[in-house]
């Protein structure tokens, strides 16, 4: 376990973008919050905070800003994770450091699993924590600069529920996206160069090939569902409670396609481990 923790830390040492990119976005957002808050009562908003409608305005503004920020943050995370997975078993071959890593008593299984854990759980947990802290800080910034009543914000219960779901989602979505990440590992451990191209090319070729020769989009649909299918009840209700339920991914655990994906991921991870056992600096 101590060794596994170190392998995970090692990934964050090498791939500093994993932390640097999301932290930068959070800092930018907080600066924007401070600017927006400090300038809220001038210009087109003309806010004086007396009427109910005007009370609602900063709250709505706060919520929308945070929603946009959170979506951006998770989109950034997806991008960072994509490039991380491209690089994670390729860089060590490119710079020959694989000879150093393999000179230590760490099995290929441990190594490959550590990379999978970083991409599917480590990075999402970091981003979850960052989002939590940033949302809280932006709340404080708004309270100080715009002076709107905390009671008008989301209730404590809803807030807890929302963040509980988001935390659970990290683990559920780790299983949901495991086949994608495992596929990327195979490409990363295997191809001699241009990993990102080799990651994207085969699925695009297969999808277009199916369309041209069989006039069907069914594989494309499968991929689309994997990327969009987890937002099961999105837009399912008007009330805050319904909106919060929409981000709950736990029901995915009852779906067969999640577990089929996990099984495929297991096979791909095994293939990755076998290939890394053969890999050296050539």
């Amino acid at each position: 376990m101590k060794a596994m923790m170190m392998l995970v830390r090692r990934e964050f040492w090498e791939h500093r973008m994993l932390l640097f990119a999301p932290i930068t976005l959070c800092v930018i957002f907080l600066v924007l919050c401070a600017l927006a808050g400090a300038n809220f009562d001038i210009g087109w908003m003309n806010f004086d905070g007396t009427s109910g409608a005007q009370q609602a305005m900063p709250r709505g503004f706060y919520l929308v800003m945070n929603l946009v920020f959170t979506i951006l943050l998770y989109a950034l995370m997806a991008m960072v994770a994509f490039f991380y997975l491209c690089d994670c078993l390729y860089a060590e071959r490119k710079d020959r450091s694989i000879l150093f890593w393999k000179s230590l008593p760490v099995s290929d299984t441990m190594t490959v699993l550590s990379k999978l854990v970083v991409a599917l759980v480590g990075v999402p947990l970091v981003v979850y924590g960052l989002a939590l802290v940033t949302n809280a800080l932006s709340w404080v910034i708004f309270m100080v600069t715009v002076d709107f009543a905390p009671s008008r914000g989301p209730t404590a219960l809803n807030w807890l529920k929302m963040n509980g779901y988001l935390l659970a989602d990290v683990f559920v979505l780790a299983l949901w996206f495991a086949p994608i990440a495992a596929y990327q590992l195979v490409v990363s451990v295997w191809v001699p160069r241009a990993v990102a191209v080799w990651t994207l090319l085969p699925p695009v070729a297969v999808i277009l090939g199916q369309k041209i020769f069989f006039d069907s989009w069914s594989i494309a649909e499968l991929v689309r569902q994997r990327f969009g299918g987890f937002t099961i009840n999105f837009g399912g209700g008007e009330s805050p409670a319904a909106a919060i339920d929409a981000i709950n991914a736990i029901p995915l655990l009852a779906r067969a396609d999640l577990w089929i994906g996990v099984a495929i991921a297991a096979v791909l991870v095994y293939v990755t481990i076998r290939i890394r056992r053969h890999s050296d600096d050539t």
Binding site: K2, L7, R10, D95, L99, S103, L104, P105, D108, D281
Partner: protein
């Protein structure tokens, strides 16, 4: 005597070329073995097989294990330096220590730190900021702190200046080597290591061309700096190699007694470097 490495009919093909062609040798505990051969002879392939970095045919046991299927367990007792390029550029010195400490049960951090204090290497530096010589020192510091039974060095001093090379081997002999530990190394700079070797294995075209202890070489091989008037007689004694240096002819013999050779000229034990050249050029490929 404990056998550390036992190879029987070790074979490895890349396509139609055989990098190793039925190589057999064994390495006993406490020896310092030089694996010497020209480029493309199969040295690196042999080392990679021993380290579990590549699959192979034939029988190979390192510390009683199959290195390919048992690499991670084996690496608890085997250390390996390939050449200076291998430590990743982004790694900090302190991170290297943290990492090895966490994954290696036989790593003694204090020893590595003590060695590093004697160098100009700072804990916060990244590998990319260090000179080639310092990277090797760092790697050596990690290795010295690991209580291993077998150390494998593949061209460890490639691209280093003379001072660093000398210091590297001095440290290895003084601070690392003891009668329990075994070292297997390859290098092109044979002259520099021949005084520290106890055994040599020459390898050429994927086969073992010579396998002997250094004491054994002295009894088996002789170099005669032949007197000018003895050249014809000396050739009749069938040297396996001859070489002209500044007008004098040196001939190399295998299995001749000193009594036979003394009349021909000055008899001496050939250096490993000379013997290597003689063996590689004398034997038709």
């Amino acid at each position: 005597m404990t056998t550390i490495i036992e190879a029987r009919g070790l074979t490895k093909s890349f396509g139609s070329t055989r990098a190793l062609d039925g190589v057999s040798f064994s390495v006993e505990a406490g020896r310092i073995v030089g694996l010497i051969g020209p480029n493309g002879a199969g040295k690196t392939t042999a080392l990679k097989s021993i380290l579990g970095l590549t699959s192979f045919q034939g029988d190979l046991q390192v510390l009683g294990r199959n290195p390919y299927t048992d690499r991670d367990a084996l690496m608890r007792e085997v250390c390996f330096i390939a050449d200076v390029a291998v430590l990743p550029k982004w790694l900090r010195v302190s991170q290297a220590l943290d990492y090895v400490q966490a994954v290696h049960p036989r790593f003694e951090r204090e020893r590595a730190e003590e060695f590093l204090r004697k160098t100009d290497i700072r804990m916060k530096s990244r590998v990319r900021e260090l000179s080639k010589g310092m990277v090797t020192q760092l790697h050596l510091a990690l290795i010295l702190a690991i209580d291993a039974r077998l150390l494998v060095l593949d061209e460890p001093t490639l691209g280093l200046d003379l001072l660093f090379r000398r210091q590297f081997y001095d440290t290895l002999l003084n601070d690392y080597y003891d009668k329990e530990r075994t070292i297997l190394l390859t290098t092109h700079q044979v002259e520099e290591i021949e005084h520290l070797l106890t055994d040599v294995i020459f390898i050429n075209h994927g086969r073992v061309a010579l396998d002997s202890s250094v004491e054994g070489l002295a009894t088996r091989y002789a170099q005669v700096n032949v007197k000018a008037d003895q050249a014809t007689r000396a050739r009749e004694m069938k040297p396996f190699y001859e070489r002209e240096i500044f007008g004098r002819v040196a001939m190399f013999y295998e299995g001749r007694t000193p009594e036979e050779l003394v009349p021909l000229g000055e008899v001496r034990t050939p250096s490993i470097a000379d013997l290597f050249v003689a063996k590689m050029q004398g034997v038709p490929a």
